[in-house]
């Protein structure tokens, strides 16, 4: 109980520390200078390759889990299509990768995340090919890693599964957009105020908006998690082990 209070406190203070944010989404096509486009692609590549090999091995060696993997991917598809209005008066969308990261580990979601980002870059002009590496790093690598880590940590401290799922997914969602802000800051330090001034501006665009959405994503993930647990016998899953 004490631990779960501590986590709630950490979550709330993280939320309050975030400055006044306005908008939030992926980095637009062509808006990262070539050098950064290359750097982020190189950084993201090994995670994505590992992700595809993990997904491959799940499909091959654990056919029982194939359907659940499809479900985790479907959750990403649905959630990243939802542009939800936020209290800041603008819209953003959740990422959906947190739930899958809890079920399958972070790298599996790197593969699924990249597929969704490609879909949006090619068909919706949302995000982009040149910014795919950077967006993959924030949404499909750091987000799932944080969700996975928070979930493991909270479970280890004896926090209830559903509460752990909520905080893991919400924080993973929020951190994705903090990383987006950092990436833009690195590419565009403010000429007068430097790194910090720039970071403030980008954070103010990319995260207060995201806070309510992160909470909504956490709640939706708990709904799906509850249903998975409800049908765990039929799904052939040992859900306690995850």
């Amino acid at each position: 109980m004490r631990n779960s209070k501590l986590f709630i406190l950490a979550f709330v203070s993280l939320t309050l520390m975030a400055p006044n944010f306005v908008y939030a989404m992926h980095i637009m096509e062509g808006f990262l200078p070539p050098i950064w486009a290359i750097i982020w692609t190189i950084v993201a590549l090994p995670f994505v390759i590992k992700g595809f090999s993990n997904v491959n091995s799940i499909v091959k060696n654990e056919p029982d889990k194939k359907l659940l993997l499809a479900l985790a991917g479907a959750f990403v598809f649905v959630l990243s299509a939802f542009k939800i209005p936020s209290v800041t008066g603008s819209c953003s969308h959740p990422t959906g990768v947190g739930l899958g990261a809890i079920l399958f580990g972070p790298t599996a979601m790197s593969a699924i995340g990249v597929i969704v980002l490609l879909f949006q870059a090619l068909l919706l002009a949302h995000g982009g090919i040149t910014t795919l590496g950077a967006n993959t790093f924030s949404m499909a690598i750091v987000g799932p890693l944080v969700s996975f880590g928070v979930y493991k940590l909270m479970k280890k401290n004896g926090v209830k599964s559903t509460i752990s799922v909520f905080f893991a997914v919400s924080l993973g969602d929020l951190i994705t957009y903090v990383v987006t802000s950092l990436q833009l800051t690195l590419a565009y330090p403010d000429p007068s105020g430097g790194f910090i001034a720039s970071l403030g501006k980008f954070l103010s665009i990319f995260a207060l908006t995201q806070i309510p959405l992160a909470i909504a994503e956490g709640l939706l993930a708990v709904i799906v998690y509850n249903l998975i647990v409800e049908y765990k016998k039929e799904g052939g899953l040992a859900i306690e082990n995850i």
Binding site: V22, Y23, M25, H26, M28, E29, G30, F31, P33, A70, L71, G73, A74, F75, V76, F77, V78, A81, F82, K83, I84, P85, S86, V87, T88, G89, S90, C91, V116, L123, L124, A125, G128, I129, T130, L184, Y188, P189, D190, P191, S198, K201, F202, I205, F206, P212, L213, I215, A216, L219, L220, V222, I223, V224, N226, L227, V229, Y231, K233, E234
Partner: protein, 95 residues
């Protein structure tokens, strides 16, 4: 509490979170992210020219929304299939 009831409450919360902004910020324009971030970039680096533009863009807002819906439909079909399948499996196991 039954899972179903719990989930209904959680879903109600999500709906409140998603609709509340429309009420308390009824004069806002609820635009997307991209424009505002572009504004900050041009403010910090006025000379920056995007060096690449999308290969293909949806020709209108309508086409864009149909593609976003398509994305959501693909996802929700799979989710609905999963739980429908599990429910059917349970039913046939009980018979």
């Amino acid at each position: 509490m039954k899972t179903f009831n719990k989930n209904i409450i959680l879903l109600a919360l999500v709906i409140i979170i998603a609709t509340l902004p429309l009420i308390i910020k009824s004069d806002a324009d609820f635009g997307g992210a991209d424009g505002e971030a572009k504004g900050v970039i041009t403010e910090i680096a006025p000379d920056y020219k995007p060096w690449f533009s999308p290969i293909w863009e949806p020709p209108s807002g309508e086409i864009e929304s149909v593609l976003f819906s398509l994305q959501a439909v693909i996802g929700s079909s799979i989710i609905a299939f999963y739980f429908g399948y599990m429910k059917g499996k349970r039913k046939s196991a009980n018979n």
